[in-house]
């Protein structure tokens, strides 16, 4: 019992120290970012011939209802040179016919490049017009497989993966590409902010008015995303140990992705795994590199509003994290991999994998301790207050950083709701999340199928915008 209590105390102190440090690092990183970025500087950078062409990769499986709007809005983004590559991953609905009809596509003879392996391509389509669009129709193989096909066919030096049911803000590509323009040799990947679109007004693939979601589950996820993106990712960027670039919106150097072998298709956490592999390869080759989180290019995505779908999503994320850890266990505590090996991966193991188990077991032990009189009610209440207040401080710290960087919800009522949900998440939601994560660990042996996902334009949740780590 004493050993357990000391372990829990140590764990809690480590958690506090790490998150407080990340928050401080994030504040420096975001301050540096906002001091650099001005609209005229951005415009000048994007007008220069140094702005590299970007291939926007859109893997699509049964997206007939929203695919045309998505592609239209992507083609209209503010960036000088964009190719949109849609990868139809063996859809069984009208996704391909809809694209052919709307964009007047015709089959083009295009041999499949051999750089990355993927399921066979059935046909390649291009519009009769001068639109920079390519549609690859391939056999079903999952999202990672589709992205590999897209990377193969892309001819631009940068590739940007975007979920078909996500919405990019008009200047998102430019802002995300800026680190590549500023430091083309070293930057290998960048990721932007993923925000929750539930409750927002959406018109023809554009968010016209940003609102907070009405659903409680979605609101709790707003708090999680806020903490993860502003409190954590910006901090990891400061020490070049960012472990994840969201699958919903991430930009990569194409040659770097090809050099490491593309996305792995045998994991559900392909986005995190790729980023960790990029770290591993660059560090092993002693090549200077940067993987950057950029704070304000926004990708709007639909969050699950039902417990059933949220549970499935969290189980997948947890499995993905653990799979990545297992694949790259050799990096753990290895000084060769600097911040990634010495801090980020151990933190992932400790706080994302072991943390939920420890916290839930803590509830049981505490309850037993209370019943047996081993823990006084006063100590229990104080420890509970400590945990809730610390969680609240992390959320508020992230909210302050968001407020100082780019806040799409300026109404006072929004701030009030965020504060209420930041307190409320400690009483039920967090525990539920931990439970689902533990389920995810148990499920590790099972493999997921892309085809099993339910997607229906922006009315269904996405699965790849993981905010954690």
């Amino acid at each position: 019992m004493i050993v357990y209590v000391w372990f829990v105390c140590g764990f809690f102190l480590a958690f506090i120290a790490l998150n407080a440090t990340l928050l401080v690092l994030a504040s420096f990183e975001l301050r540096r970012y906002t001091a650099r970025l001005s609209s005229s500087a951005l415009r000048r950078a994007l007008r220069s011939p140094l702005a590299p062409p970007i291939a926007v990769l859109v893997p699509a499986y049964n997206e007939a209802s929203g695919i045309a709007d998505s592609v239209r809005s992507l083609l209209a983004l503010d960036y000088p040179r964009i190719d949109v590559v849609v990868i139809n991953d063996g859809s069984t609905d009208e996704t391909l016919p809809r694209l052919i009809e709307v964009f007047d596509l015709r089959p083009v003879p295009q041999p499949t490049p051999p750089f990355l392996p993927h399921r066979p391509v059935r046909a390649v389509y291009a519009p009769r017009s001068r639109l920079r669009l390519l549609v690859i129709d391939k056999e079903n193989g999952g999202k990672a497989d589709s992205l590999n096909a897209g990377i193969n066919f892309a001819t631009c030096p940068l590739v940007c993966s975007v979920d078909a049911d996500s919405i990019l803000e008009q200047d998102a590509l430019g802002k995300t590409a800026l680190p590549f323009i500023e430091d083309p040799e070293r930057t290998v990947a960048t990721g932007g902010m993923v925000r929750i679109a539930n409750g927002c007004q959406i018109d023809h693939g554009r968010v016209t008015e940003a609102h907070l979601p009405r659903s409680s589950f979605a609101m709790f996820q707003v708090i999680e995303y806020l903490r993860a993106f502003f409190g954590t990712r910006a901090g990891w960027t400061a020490i070049n140990a960012l472990l994840i670039v969201s699958g919903a919106f991430g930009m990569f150097r194409r040659d770097a992705v090809i050099a490491v072998g593309g996305y792995r298709t045998d994991t559900v956490g392909e986005d995190m795994e790729l980023v960790v592999r990029l770290h591993r390869t660059c560090r092993a080759a002693r090549r200077p590199y940067r993987i950057v989180y950029v704070a304000d290019p926004v990708c709007w995505t639909e969050a699950p509003e039902s417990a059933r779908i949220l549970r499935r999503q969290r189980r997948r994320w947890q499995r993905g994290s653990l799979e990545t850890l297992l694949f790259h266990r050799g990096m753990m505590l290895n000084p060769r991999y600097r911040g990634v090996g010495l801090i980020a991966l151990p933190a992932l193991l400790l706080f994302e994998i072991i943390g939920p188990v420890l916290e839930l077991s803590g509830y049981v032990v505490t309850a037993v301790g209370l019943l047996l009189g081993l823990i006084s009610p006063a100590a229990f209440l104080l420890f509970l207050a400590l945990a809730v207040l610390y969680g609240l401080i992390l959320t508020l710290g992230a909210a302050v950083l968001e407020e100082a960087t780019a806040n799409p919800h300026p109404a006072w009522s929004s701030l009030g709701r965020i504060l209420i949900y930041a307190v409320a998440e400690s009483f039920g939601y967090r525990q539920l999340g931990h439970l689902w994560r533990i389920e995810g660990l148990w499920q590790l042996v099972r493999k997921s199928e892309w085809g099993a996902m339910e997607r229906k334009g922006l009315s269904r949740p996405t699965t790849s915008a993981k905010p954690g780590s």
Partner: protein, 340 residues
């Protein structure tokens, strides 16, 4: 123990209260800015529009909070305006004291203030600010000095070129993007100043940037220097080959063919050379490209097939030959290249 825990909880509760206050303060400030923008923004934009249309007196942003807003609107407008309208707006900004303010702020202690001033002067691009901008080339902040170097490339005289080049050279290794923007400004306004940066023997970091920009801007006067750069490292050769292709430099065909045929060069360099040969369209490169079509690397085969398709009839004949009897991958690429 309990007392210590209670003290910690009290401290954390205090911190929560403090953070809420900070949050509220930031939000109040943001809302005040938004209110100001709503209140003055449309009027400021309208008066600026009227002034530029020549049918009104110049705007006079003198109420509290109005000046930063007007400056932001004018800065946005300056990015889009050209010709007389631009000159009139620059003159107006001078009359209203914005130019003077920016020149003063270029000496401020806060880096952010100096960066904003440098941005403002870059938008204005007025010769009045040349002395201030020249002084700022020695600024300790990379963004301030490179922004000022860009401005000077537009507004300065030929005497300023060595100082601008020195800034680009200084910042190229650590901040290549910022250095590239300086070289680009130089290339767009004084292309002849690029020559020393392109010459062999120039530090690799800046030379690589200069070659990329000369290629992107298709500066034909530097074709000989680009051709010489083909012998440089492979990543430099990629850009110089691309530039030679875009310029359509016939005399470079032999050198490009040599790179394309050289097994010791990287695939991207050889593929870029093949692309350039296709873009130039000289049938003399037929043999090299046909051989490349049988290379083991797919990207080389694809580049060769694309290039052959652009060589006209001789290239198409070679593609037909490969499509009919070449190895399967090359045949597929040749077949695809033959289709319109």
């Amino acid at each position: 123990m309990l007392q210590a825990l209670a003290d910690v909880v009290a401290c954390l509760a205090g911190l929560v209260g403090l953070l809420v206050l900070v949050l509220i303060a930031i939000r109040v400030a943001a809302l005040r800015r938004a209110t100001r923008a709503r209140r003055f923004g449309p009027a400021a934009a309208a008066s600026l529009g009227t002034y530029l249309a020549g049918s009104g007196a110049g705007p006079a942003p003198d109420r509290p909070g109005e000046r930063p807003l007007f400056q932001a609107i004018a800065q946005e407008a300056l990015a889009d305006l050209r010709g007389d309208d631009r000159d009139r707006l620059v003159a107006l900004m001078g009359q209203l004291g914005f130019t003077q303010d920016a020149m003063l702020h270029l000496k401020a202690r806060r880096t952010v203030t100096r960066r904003r001033a440098a941005e403002m002067l870059a938008c204005l691009a007025t010769p009045v600010a040349v002395p201030a901008v020249t002084d700022a080339l020695a600024d300790r902040d990379v963004l301030v000095r490179t922004t000022c170097a860009c401005t000077l490339a537009v507004t300065g005289t030929d005497d300023a070129v060595p100082a601008i080049v020195a800034v680009a050279q200084r910042d190229a290794p650590a901040t290549p993007g910022a250095a590239a923007s300086v070289v680009l400004a130089l290339a767009q306004n004084r292309p002849e100043a690029l020559a020393p940066l392109l010459a062999p023997g120039t530090p690799a970091a800046i030379r690589r940037i200069a070659i990329t920009i000369a290629a992107d801007l298709r500066l034909a006067q530097f074709a000989t220097l680009l051709q010489a750069a083909l012998a440089d490292t492979d990543d430099v050769a990629v850009n110089s080959a691309r530039g030679l292709g875009m310029i359509g430099e016939f005399p470079a065909v032999d050198a490009l063919a040599q790179v394309a045929a050289d097994d010791t060069r990287s695939a991207p360099a050889r593929a870029a050379a093949a692309d350039a040969l296709g873009a130039i369209g000289d049938p003399a490169s037929l043999q090299v490209l046909e051989r490349l079509l049988a290379a083991p690397d797919w990207s080389l085969q694809a580049a060769a097939a694309g290039a052959l398709a652009r060589l006209g009839e001789p290239g198409r004949t070679a593609l037909h030959r490969t499509a009919a009897s070449g190895p399967p991958e090359a045949a597929a690429l040749a077949g695809a290249a033959l289709k319109p």
